[in-house]
């Protein structure tokens, strides 16, 4: 034989799966939610997403080329995913410079400082979002009222209050402290449960429409981009935890507590804190699942490959932790919303979970 042939260890064939294909699969899964967002927020949604994606890609390119002096590999799609996820976590009425700062923090601090793709301990998009939430609390919690393409694009600082509103979770948080009930708050705001599902509510770009996010989940499950373990354990634990609080804390059920003589600590806590003997008001589990960033977080943020555990058992522990922390922040904390913090906290536990939670071995 005259020419050289390749000699390499087995296996000699490959599935053809690649990082690019997986990332573009995630991008496709996000498109329904983006479409709903454009439908309700108009140009604002397009503008925030574009600015976020382009600046994430640009920062990744610049950092790889000039700081790390490696070959830039922005074509793998991971910067696009980070950019889109960051945009999904922002209000459509955010000024340009804030989005760019968010992208810089996401890619620069969240991802590249740790060595780039595969090495970051925390979800980069959430690092960016939480940075912005702490730095620009007012701008980050004012959401444009959905008017389709009539929704003003608020690039400047003017007219902030005129055409913005709070999220359903925000309203509940304020309303319940003010001794209203969940029903009365929603009634005053003119919101029905169907609005949560179809997206006709205030909120970040990507979190408003439950059905679009669920389509994305179905797509990713069918294409085997992710497994069910993380999203279902997040949603399941939120449902169960809020369900328990709802059953035992809801006004109409308070007699159960008296009758059974149950002495649940949080009720006393509320009593002391507010100084009133108010019945504890608690939104129902469906409300908690459909509002805020829970579906977005459970489907797209918590399932981030790099920052979530490797084994199915570990993923369920991770997801349950996110669910419980989310509810704890939402119900007992100062913020109306807790998904971002919950995911970041559990990201921190991921190495520990990977170290101690082993897969089911053959023969065990």
């Amino acid at each position: 034989m005259s020419k050289l042939i390749t000699v390499s260890p087995s296996p000699h064939i490959h599935s053809g799966q690649s990082v690019e294909k997986l990332m573009f699969g995630v991008i496709i899964a996000m498109l329904p939610a983006l479409a709903v967002s454009v439908y309700f927020f108009g140009m604002g949604a397009i503008y925030v997403t574009l600015v976020s994606v382009v600046s994430c890609m640009l920062f990744e390119y610049l950092i790889q080329k000039y700081l790390l002096k490696t070959t830039p590999r922005i074509t793998d799609g991971s910067a696009i995913v980070t950019g889109m996820l960051l945009a999904f976590n922002l209000p459509s009425s955010l000024p340009l410079h804030i989005i760019i700062i968010g992208a810089l923090v996401s890619i620069g601090i969240g991802k590249m400082t740790f060595g780039g793709l595969g090495n970051n301990p925390f979800n980069p998009a959430l690092v960016g979002r939480v940075f912005l939430l702490l730095s620009f609390p007012t701008r980050m919690t004012k959401y444009a009222v959905a008017k389709g393409f009539q929704t003003p694009v608020l690039i400047g600082e003017d007219n902030l209050d005129a055409s913005t509103g709070a999220t359903p979770l925000g309203m509940i948080k304020e309303g319940l402290v003010g001794n209203e009930t969940v029903q009365s708050v929603l009634k005053d705001a003119g919101i029905k449960y169907g609005d949560f599902f179809w997206g006709n509510i205030g909120g970040s770009l990507g979190e408003i429409a439950g059905f679009a996010l669920i389509i994305g989940l179905a797509f990713m499950l069918i294409r085997k981009i992710i497994t069910w373990h993380i999203p279902i354990s997040v949603l399941g634990s939120v449902f169960i935890f809020t369900g328990l609080l709802w059953v035992f804390g809801y006004e109409g059920h308070s007699y159960i507590i008296d009758k059974w003589g149950l002495n649940i600590p949080y009720i006393q806590y509320l009593d002391h804190d507010l100084g009133v003997k108010a019945p504890f008001h608690m939104a129902d589990p469906v409300f908690h699942i459909l509002t805020g960033g829970l579906l977005l977080g459970a489907i797209f943020m918590a399932t981030d490959y790099v920052t979530s555990p490797m084994t199915p058992k570990g993923q369920i522990i991770f997801g349950t932790g996110i669910g419980v922390i989310t509810v704890a922040i939402r119900v007992f904390g100062a913020y109306p919303e807790g998904v971002s913090f919950a995911i970041l906290i559990m990201n921190g536990f991921t190495p520990l979970i990977n170290r101690y939670v082993k897969p089911k071995r053959f023969g065990e």
Binding site: S10, P11, H12, V19, G118, P359, E364
Partner: protein
């Protein structure tokens, strides 16, 4: 009902392009090279010298321990030399070179095609005939068969499982054997049942060989205690542990042997060799080899003498294509790529696969994105990403506690990795070193 194993597994394209090519007996080559190591265990000891005249089927190298195997001359002729020869691992090892002269056979070998149903031998006679004939596991592991049939004291086998899975893509040698030597396989199975004292034998065949399943099921009606179990197609179902679990739901414990849970597994190729050895007095001197590849002119299944050069088989199948980039001894998932066509067929060679240039290079390695797909496909429930990283850093203690020795080297992790990481390479490196450490403790 179709059965399969529970943990992990992948579905590589089957590419069984030689499945319709009947077994063709290949002509006897002019020279053969018979390595002294064709089995797991101690090398056989040559009992011939340069210039000796040997007959086909004559013992030329003797088993040198309990775990070792006899080797017989596949041809008649003259011993040219005993020298080092290249093997498929890329190393040189001792081999007997024989120049073919005439066609003399050892007297008692029955060379006819006549089926011999009747079993006249005792359990002990069957085992010693298997040992004499130098039968080893023909699925690729090449573990000496007489060792498997000699059960350790206090162990009892409940099931004899016959492996007709052939889960490697491309390969069809076992498939064709089941189609063409169906009854012989059942007689061989009965011989093994007698040797092992088992009352139940199950033949596992993957569902992509429906003609073989049909034919085997038909013949199985004549044999009360042997049944055929169709299996869902999933790689690596032909792995011993996976097959036992798929069929019996019993799981071989970590570090254990199939007999620990009452199972013994034989590949159909070995069963046919055992039939020939016991009923026809024919030692293991030839085997069925698939020669295949998308670019090969005529993918075939040959009955080949041990010691024939790979190159001669490729020539028989239409010659080496112009754009050949890789020659693999075995299947694409577990086979070894070789650097030369001057490598002899040995007892464990199940196929020769030719890959074109554009399929020969690995994809570029990207960073691990921790997608956990390798964990999901591992049929042993291991964490390939972790074992690979530990191997890369030579952290052998942790490799051992994370069960690296359980790895069956099926390659599912490397196959599925979206970043194209050489997971199995590093795991093998770790496994080799941990194995050495464990052996040095004894």
């Amino acid at each position: 009902m179709l059965k399969t194993f529970t943990l992990g597994g992948v579905h590589p394209p089957e590419n069984k392009i030689s499945a319709t090519s009947k077994i063709v007996e290949m002509h006897t080559p002019k020279n053969v090279v018979v390595p002294l190591v064709q089995h797991l265990g101690a090398p056989a000891k040559s009992i011939v010298a340069k210039g000796d005249i040997v007959k086909t089927g004559q013992l030329i190298a003797q088993s040198s321990g309990f775990v070792s195997a006899n080797i017989h001359s596949p041809v008649s002729g003259k011993v040219l030399k005993i020298d080092k020869a290249l093997n498929s691992s890329g190393y040189k090892s001792d081999a007997i070179f024989i120049t073919v002269e005439g066609d003399e056979w050892v007297d008692n070998i029955d060379r006819t095609d006549k089926l011999i149903n009747e079993i006249k031998f005792s359990k002990q006679e069957i085992i010693s005939k298997i040992a004499d004939a130098g039968i080893v596991g023909l699925g690729g592991a090449t573990f000496p068969s007489h060792v498997k049939t000699t059960l350790p004291k206090g162990k009892k086998a409940d099931y004899l499982i016959i492996n007709g899975v052939e889960c490697e893509p491309y390969l069809t040698a076992d498939h064709l054997l089941m189609l063409e030597k169906t009854e012989e396989l059942f007689v061989g199975t009965e011989l093994l049942m007698k040797a092992l004292d088992v009352s139940k034998a199950i033949i596992g065949i993957e569902n992509n060989k429906s003609d073989a399943i049909k034919k085997m099921q038909e013949v199985s009606k004549k044999f009360n205690s042997i049944s055929v179990q169709p299996l869902k197609v999933k790689y690596p179902q032909g792995g011993e542990k996976q097959l036992i679990e798929a069929i019996t739901k019993r799981k071989v414990p970590s570090g254990g042997l199939p007999i620990d849970i009452g199972a013994v597994v034989f590949n159909v190729g070995s069963v046919y060799a055992i039939y020939e050895a016991v009923q026809k007095n024919k030692p293991l001197i030839d085997r069925i080899v698939t020669v295949t590849g998308k670019t090969l002119k005529s993918p075939s299944n040959f009955k080949v003498k041990i010691g024939t050069m790979i190159g001669e088989l490729i020539d028989m199948a239409g010659g080496l294509p112009e754009d050949t980039g890789k020659i693999i001894n075995g299947g694409p998932m577990m086979g070894k790529s070789v650097a030369s066509t001057e490598i002899p067929i040995v007892k464990g060679s199940s196929g020769i696969l030719i890959m074109p240039e554009n399929e020969s290079k690995r994809k570029e390695t990207e960073p691990c994105i921790r997608c956990s797909k390798c964990v999901g496909v591992c049929p042993m429930g291991l964490e390939p990403y972790l074992l690979s990283a530990l191997g890369e850093k030579s952290l052998f203690d942790r490799l051992e506690s994370d069960k690296v020795m359980d790895c069956i080297e099926c390659g599912s992790c490397s196959y599925v990795c979206p970043s194209g990481r050489p997971l199995l390479d590093y795991i093998r490196f770790g496994k080799t070193n941990v194995g050495k450490i464990i052996r040095s403790r004894k």
